[in-house]
């Protein structure tokens, strides 16, 4: 029998996860709806004045996106763990880190990408000028990628635990704080009309770093949790 190459296995995993995700449309829509709700809460709680909201827009968008992306993380490995797919992944002989990258990428496509796509709409509602929308999308795209990678570590560690979702946010949010700082700052700078290149590049560097190291941590965490 011919052996599946690691790249092909990762691709299969990615397509399988997408297929499974889009069988449940409600799950795909949930983070977006949550994102919409949280961004709506802020004008209600703070002030309807666009001028004031504009100053807070970067932070509001980022906090809402972080929380929304965190919501879906809990389910990243749960179904696979419950029905034994995870054990088959471990036994398949394929590099676990690569399969973890595929699963993380699928999670980002389902959870992160929709947030990035709808973010201009909510940015405008918070008074962000149209010139800054590109930066909003770019910073959220990089940031949700970082969160998917970091969150995969947390999800793998808390697999099958009681009250795992609370624990997951406790583990992941402190690690995501640097991304929040640079991401929100990039949007702030763009709103003020400055070039936001610096923080965006730092965000991209962080993404490269977590994409390099996180799969290894996810792999060993999955091995620990599945035993």
């Amino acid at each position: 029998m011919e052996r599946t190459s690691p790249a092909a296995a990762a691709m299969l995993m990615y397509r399988r996860d997408l297929l499974l995700a889009f069988r449940h449309w409600d799950q795909v829509a949930q983070p977006v709806v949550f994102f919409a709700m949280v961004t709506t809460l802020f004008p209600l709680a703070l002030s309807p004045e666009l001028g004031e909201l504009r100053q807070l827009a970067g932070g509001v968008l980022w906090v809402a996106a972080l929380l929304a992306a965190l919501l879906g993380l809990e389910f990243l490995f749960r179904a696979d763990h419950a029905d034994g797919t995870l054990e088959q992944m471990l036994l398949s002989g394929q590099p676990l880190a690569l399969l973890a990258v595929a699963k993380g990428a699928a999670h980002w496509t389902v959870c992160g990408l929709p947030l990035v796509l709808v973010s201009p709409l909510f940015a405008i509602s918070l008074g962000v000028p149209t010139g800054a929308l590109c930066t909003v999308m770019l910073s959220l795209a990089l940031g949700t990628g970082i969160l998917s990678a970091l969150g995969a570590i947390g999800a793998a560690l808390t697999l099958g635990l009681r009250r795992g979702s609370m624990l997951l946010s406790l583990l992941v949010l402190p690690l995501a704080m640097p991304a929040l700082i640079f991401g929100a700052r990039a949007i702030d700078m763009a709103i003020e009309g400055e070039a936001a290149r610096g923080p965006l590049l730092l965000l991209a560097a962080m993404l490269v770093l977590v994409l390099t190291l996180a799969p290894l941590a996810v792999g060993s965490a999955l091995r620990i949790s599945a035993e």
């Binding site: 560690l157 635990l161 406790l170 690690l175 704080m177 640097p178 700082i181 060993s220 620990i224 949790s225």
Partner: protein
């Protein structure tokens, strides 16, 4: 080369006895140095010309802040040793260290707040150092919570070890990003102590307290490690004999 002397340290009975013997050797010097350091800091050292007697909280605050980072580093090294060479005792050291480190972090934050109130006029400022210390506390709490919520000891050990290592990679990033964030947002509204050239009379009690706190951690670690070994080895036959003797 014969390595058996080294392997002995990883055996629970040996470690249990050794920790019991070492505990007073850490504990008593720690006690004496704390007494000496506090006397030097609270009585002998002159009052600061700007801060008056308020600066004296430094003698608890700075050593606690040092310990919060020292213990995180020790814990991560122990966790990595446990993960790589599968030495259970190293995991026990990490497990015994985490609550002590969290407590020192908490002490550093609260003494900082008490110090900040008369000096800066507020309990809390979003200063870079304060914020990264707070995030460190969150990391400690996450580690303790993860360990507490996994019933299987082996899995709890290894999962906490992975998290500790992830945390240690992230700490410098958190530290520098927080600095960057603060310098852009606040500028110089609050000037930190800015490394004043501290006089010898003020300095030696501080150094004494730092050494004393480190020794205190050593002593507490030995006691906690013994308790941890008791918990882990409660069904082992050597322990029955040891306790019967």
């Amino acid at each position: 080369m014969n390595w058996t002397w080294l392997h002995k340290f990883a055996s629970p009975p040996h470690a249990y006895r050794l920790a019991g013997r070492l505990a007073p050797w850490f504990g008593w010097p720690a006690f004496l140095l704390i007494v000496a350091g506090l006397y030097g800091g609270l009585v002998l050292a002159p009052a600061d010309y700007q801060q008056g007697d308020g600066f004296r909280i430094l003698y608890v605050h700075a050593p606690s802040a040092w310990m919060s980072m020292f213990i995180y580093a020790t814990m991560s090294v122990a966790a990595a040793i446990g993960l790589i060479w599968r030495i259970k005792l190293a995991h026990a050291v990490a497990a015994a260290s985490a609550p002590v480190g969290a407590w020192f972090t908490f002490v550093a934050l609260t003494t900082g707040a008490v110090w900040g109130k008369p000096m800066w006029g507020t309990w809390w400022v979003w200063d870079a150092r304060l914020t990264s210390e707070l995030i460190l506390l969150f990391l400690y709490v996450g580690l303790i919570a993860l360990r507490a919520s996994i019933d299987d000891r082996d899995r709890a050990d290894r999962a906490s070890a992975v998290l500790a290592i992830v945390g240690v990679v992230n700490l410098p990033i958190i530290h520098y990003s927080v600095y960057w964030w603060n310098t852009l947002h606040q500028g110089a509204t609050i000037t930190k102590l800015g490394k004043p050239s501290i006089t010898g009379e003020m300095l030696w009690p501080l150094l004494t307290m730092i050494v004393a706190f480190t020794l205190y951690y050593g002593g507490v670690l030995m006691l906690r490690l013994r308790a941890e070994i008791l918990r882990r080895e409660r069904d082992a036959s050597w322990l029955q004999k040891e306790l019967a003797a």
